[in-house]
Symmetry: C2
Subunit: 197 residues, 2 copies
């Protein structure tokens, strides 16, 4: 393995370990040494890749946003209709959040963004809002979603329902119960939006 | 004014000022002196009423829960039917959150409960869930709410939608836009639950 590959692996290991640490410890109390202990690396390795704890946290938040965005766009582009897209998005989000330490860390950090990371406040809401608006628009066009709604209001509602589900499940370790909660939420969201029920 | 009344007024002033401080500053960074400056009181007055910053914070959280519970029970007991109860609850919650510094402080503190106040985690969800379950049950009985739903799932959905609205608006100072957001959410919640639309 070349120097560059090793370096990329080390960086990825730090991001993953940082996700685990930040998902269980508030940013202000988390320590770089906690991250290093998880992966058996030295301070030198850390500072080669990140200026400080905040730089690692921002990297994790950005990676979480990327993963969420990829998932959302992928669902939009590979679903046969709008209702199944919304349903798949909900299931895939639940799976991603419950299984990926980087996403978990990113979510916890984002929940502290008002205090710690003002530069990313609301970033995930905006991303979701735009893609979900497109999905709902296509649902209205194809006739699967009610035509008597305002697209932007319907998208706001779907985002609200996802955020609420995530928020309530986030009080449990590892977001336990999120997938079930999203399934329930999704069934009512579809009932509210479907052209007929 | 007697000594006891003065003491009660001082305590209330500390709770109110604490609400304002905690609604804009994370618990770990907020200082007792910030609270005192807002009301022009001394350290002595503070420690007469509260053991420490944490005791004040818990009082604010409990007061917020009380106000939310009063509102919720009041709406339940004075509404003519379940759909108007859900609609009023949403409007009244928006008004309360946007106008009361104690509620605002309590909400921000509750958002930090996983890290700072594990004893109150999920308390407001449980309170809402129970009262909203009763409202939905009465709606099914009176025929205004669909009978093909699980009461507990429908209540979970309503709580999720409220929590999501609050959460998204909480990135704005003073929860700006919450009332509008709740109105949008509510219209879709009712569409999902109403016996006919």
């Amino acid at each position: 393995m070349g120097k560059q590959e090793r370096s990329a692996l080390t960086r990825a290991a730090l991001v993953r370990a940082g996700g685990a640490v930040f998902s269980s410890t508030p940013f202000s109390r988390a320590r770089i040494v906690d991250v290093l202990q998880l992966v058996g690396l030295t301070q030198g390795a850390f500072y080669f890749h990140f200026e400080n704890k905040r730089a690692l946290a921002l990297e994790i938040i950005n990676r979480e946003l990327e993963l969420m965005t990829e998932l959302t766009l992928n669902v939009r582009d590979t679903s046969t209709n709008a209702l199944s897209a919304l349903s798949r998005m909900s299931q895939d989000l639940g799976r991603l959040i419950q299984s990926d330490p980087v996403v978990q860390g990113g979510l916890r950090l984002t929940m502290q963004s008002a205090d710690e990371f003002p530069e990313v406040i609301g970033a995930s809401y905006i991303m979701w809002f735009e893609t979900i608006s497109q999905i709902i628009q296509s649902g209205v066009t194809e006739g699967s979603i009610r035509s008597d709604i305002e697209i932007s209001e319907a998208a706001e509602f779907v985002v609200t329902a996802f955020v609420g589900s995530q928020q309530i499940a986030s009080v449990n370790p590892m977001w336990e119960g999120l997938a079930d909660r999203l399934r329930t939420t999704e069934s009512f969201v579809l009932a509210a939006l479907a052209a007929s029920r």
